[in-house]
Symmetry: C2
Subunit: 356 residues, 2 copies
DNA sequence: CTGAAAGCGCTAACAG
DNA sequence: CTGTTAGCGCTTTCAG
C-alpha cells in the first residue's frame, strides 16, 4: 500500500498536477509527459485513493441501497438489476439489509449518509415506522423508494401496479371458474401488503366473487405453509387462493399437497413476483411477474433527476406487471378466455401519476 | 449537506479541536464544553463526514466481501452471518457479486481496494482464474477466503471439511442399504466442487460401494433437474444420489417425482448446505449442514490476525459439518446404524491444519 | 502546457 | 484542559 500520486510524479519527473492531469486525461499534457506518467504509475503499481478523491470532489461515485432482507429472492433479484443499471454509469452499490427492523434501517441509512453516498435507493420495511429516517435521508441526498414506500408520499417511488396485478390474477382464476377466492399475504405493515390487499378487494368486488377474510401473516414460506394448514383445518376450501408473493405460494402448495388436495383441480393457486423458484416448484406456479429490470432502470433514471436543493413534487411510477400462467391454476373455461387475454395485453403499458 | 465540525465549533464558541474531542469523547474536556458542543451539534444536525475521517485515519471501518452470486441462498446466508459478526466490532460490509466471472471479480476487488477497505472476504469463483487478482489483493490488505479458495494456498481460508461431509453422507445412505450411489455436482472450476468430488470418491471407495461416473454441471436447480432426467433416461437408477448442494438436490427431486420415482423408497437423495428451502421441499431434504455462523465467526477472527506487512504461513480452517437426516433418505437398517451415529458424533469437532 | 498552492473535513501532535 | 496547526491524497484554480 501507500504509493501516492506524489510518488508517481516524482518518478516521472513532473509535478503532481501534471501527473493528475495525465492520469485522469481530463486536461491536455504533452504526449511525452503522458507517456512517462503512465509508465511510472504502472511500474509503481499506483492505485488512486478513492477516499481522497471523494473528499476532494465531494462525491463518491457510490449509491447506497437498503432492502429489508437479502433472504428474499425478490430483493436479491432487484439488487442485481440495480447493480447492473448502476454499472452503466460506473457507479458502485453499497448494499445494506435492514432485517425488517426500522431501527436497524435508520442506522444503516445514517452510516450510508456518513459515507457520503451520492444517492439512496430504499425499500422501507415499515409503512409508518420507516418514515422519519427515510424523509430525513431524502433531505440530504437524492433518494428513491422501490417496491415498498412510506406513508405520506414525501419521496419518489417506483413499483408495480398492484391494482392491475391483482385484477389480472383475480380475473384469471374467475375465468377458470372460481367463485370463491381467498387472499394470503403479509400483515399490513408495509405498502405492498396494503396495496395488494386493496387491489384484491377491488378486483373481487368487481368480479362479483366471494372473498373470505384474508389470511395475513408474513411474506415467507413458513407463513404460506401455516396458512395452507388453516385453510385445510377450516374444512371448506375456496376455489382459488391468491398469494402476496411466491414464497407464500410455495409454502401453501406444500401444505395443500400434504393435505391431499389436488392443485389446480380442486383449488387454483396464484403467486406474486415470479422470481426464484416459481418455475421449479411442483406444479410450476402461475404468478404475476414483476418487471424487475424495468423497475431498476426507472429507479436509477429517477435518481439522476432528483435535486435535493430544488425539490419537485414526488413522483410515483407504477409499472404494470404481467400474469404468467403455468400449472397451478385451472385453464380458462368457456368464452371467458377473452378476459384473461385482455388482462395480459393490458399489462404491457406503463402508467405514471403524480402525487400531492 | 455541509455542516462541518467547524460550524459546530463556532456555534459552541470553542475550537475545532475541542469540538472533535467532545464529540469523540476520546479526550477529556470540561463538562460545560462537552455540553455546549453536544447541543450545538444536535441543533445544527451535524453528521460527521466518514470520508474525511477515513482519509485522516487511514482506515475506513469497512470490510469488503465478494461472493460469486447473491442468487445462491448459501452465499446470502453467509453474507448475513458475516455482517452479523462484523457488527459486533462496529464495522460495515461492502458487498459485491462477481457473477461467477473472474473478470468482474477482479474489477470488484480493485474498486474495493481503491475505496480502502480495511479487509477483504472472498469466495473466489474460479480455482485458477481467480488466483492472480486474489493474491494481488491479499498483498495490500488482510484477506480471508471463505467456502471456495484459489489454488496454491497463498491466502487464508475458512470452509467446511468436505471429506467429513461426504463420508457422513455416503456412510448414511450405505447404512440405509444403498449399494450404488452417484454424485451430482458442479464442474470442477472451483475448490468446493473438487473437494467434494474427492471426498465422495474416497468415501465410496472406503465403503466399498459402486459409484458410477459423477454428473457434473452447475450448482443450480436447473442442473439438478437435468441430471435427474439423465438418470431416468439411463434406465438404471442408483440406490442413492448425493448432491453437491441443495439447489441441485431440489431440482433432482422434482425430476425424479415427475418420472414417477418414489423417494426415498426407490432412491435416497442427500443434499449439501442446509440453507434456504431444504426443510420445505417435498419430502424434506436430508442434507449436510454447513456451520455458517461458526464459519463467519472464524473468518472475521482470522481477518483480525492477518498482517500484510508480516505474513505468516497461510491458515486453513476446515470446520466439520453435521448430517441432518430428514425424509429423502432411507432409514438405517440392521446393525449398520452405529456407523451413521459415529459419523454424526465425529462431525462435531473442529480441525485446524497448516498449509505449506 | 506546466507547477505551486489551496483546501475538501477531520484528528493528533504540540504548545500553552 | 484548550487552541493552533499540520497533513491524510487528491484535483483544480491561478499564475507563469
Amino acid at each position: 500500500m501507500g504509493v501516492t500520486i506524489h510518488d508517481v510524479a516524482r518518478a516521472a519527473g513532473v509535478s503532481v498536477a501534471s501527473a493528475s492531469r495525465a492520469l485522469s486525461g481530463r486536461r491536455k499534457v504533452t504526449p511525452e509527459v503522458a507517456e512517462r506518467v503512465t509508465r511510472a504509475a504502472a511500474e509503481l503499481g499506483y492505485q488512486p485513493n478513492a477516499v481522497a478523491k471523494a473528499l476532494r470532489d465531494r462525491t463518491t461515485g457510490t449509491v447506497g441501497m437498503v432492502v429489508p432482507g437479502i433472504g428474499n429472492p425478490f430483493f436479491t433479484t432487484m439488487v442485481e438489476a440495480v447493480e447492473h443499471q448502476l454499472q452503466k454509469s460506473g457507479r458502485d452499490l453499497l448494499l445494506c439489509a435492514s432485517q425488517y427492523t426500522p431501527e436497524i434501517e435508520a442506522r444503516r441509512l445514517n452510516t450510508l449518509l456518513a459515507r457520503r453516498v451520492d444517492g439512496l435507493i430504499i425499500s422501507p420495511c415499515d409503512f409508518e415506522a420507516s418514515a422519519p429516517a427515510v424523509l430525513n435521508a431524502a433531505r440530504q441526498v437524492p433518494l428513491v423508494q422501490v417496491d415498498r414506500y412510506i406513508e405520506g408520499g414525501g419521496a419518489d417511488w417506483v413499483g408495480v401496479d398492484d391494482d392491475s396485478a391483482l385484477a389480472q390474477a383475480v380475473d384469471h382464476v374467475v375465468a377458470g371458474g372460481a367463485r370463491s377466492v381467498v387472499f394470503v399475504s403479509s400483515r399490513l405493515m408495509n405498502s405492498s401488503a396494503r396495496l395488494r390487499l386493496a387491489g384484491f378487494q377491488l378486483a373481487t368486488a368487481r368480479a362479483g366473487v366471494d372473498s373470505g377474510a384474508p389470511l395475513l401473516g408474513e411474506f415467507t414460506l413458513d407463513w404460506g405453509f401455516e396458512a395452507g394448514r388453516r385453510l385445510l383445518a377450516d374444512g371448506t376450501l375456496p376455489d382459488a387462493v391468491i398469494c402476496g408473493n411466491d414464497e407464500i405460494a410455495v409454502g401453501l402448495l406444500r401444505a395443500l399437497r400434504l393435505g391431499g388436495v389436488r392443485v389446480p383441480e380442486e383449488v387454483s393457486v396464484v403467486g406474486f413476483d415470479d422470481v426464484g423458484h416459481a418455475t421449479m416448484c411442483d406444479p410450476p406456479l402461475t404468478t404475476v411477474r414483476q418487471p424487475v429490470e424495468e423497475m431498476a432502470a426507472e429507479v436509477v433514471r429517477l435518481l439522476g433527476q432528483v435535486r435535493v436543493s430544488d425539490p419537485r413534487p414526488a413522483q410515483r411510477l407504477a409499472i404494470a406487471p404481467r400474469l404468467v400462467v403455468r400449472e397451478t391454476s385451472r385453464p380458462v373455461t368457456s368464452g371467458a378466455d377473452t378476459i384473461a387475454a385482455a388482462g395480459i395485453v393490458a399489462g404491457n403499458g406503463q402508467e405514471e401519476e403524480e402525487v400531492a
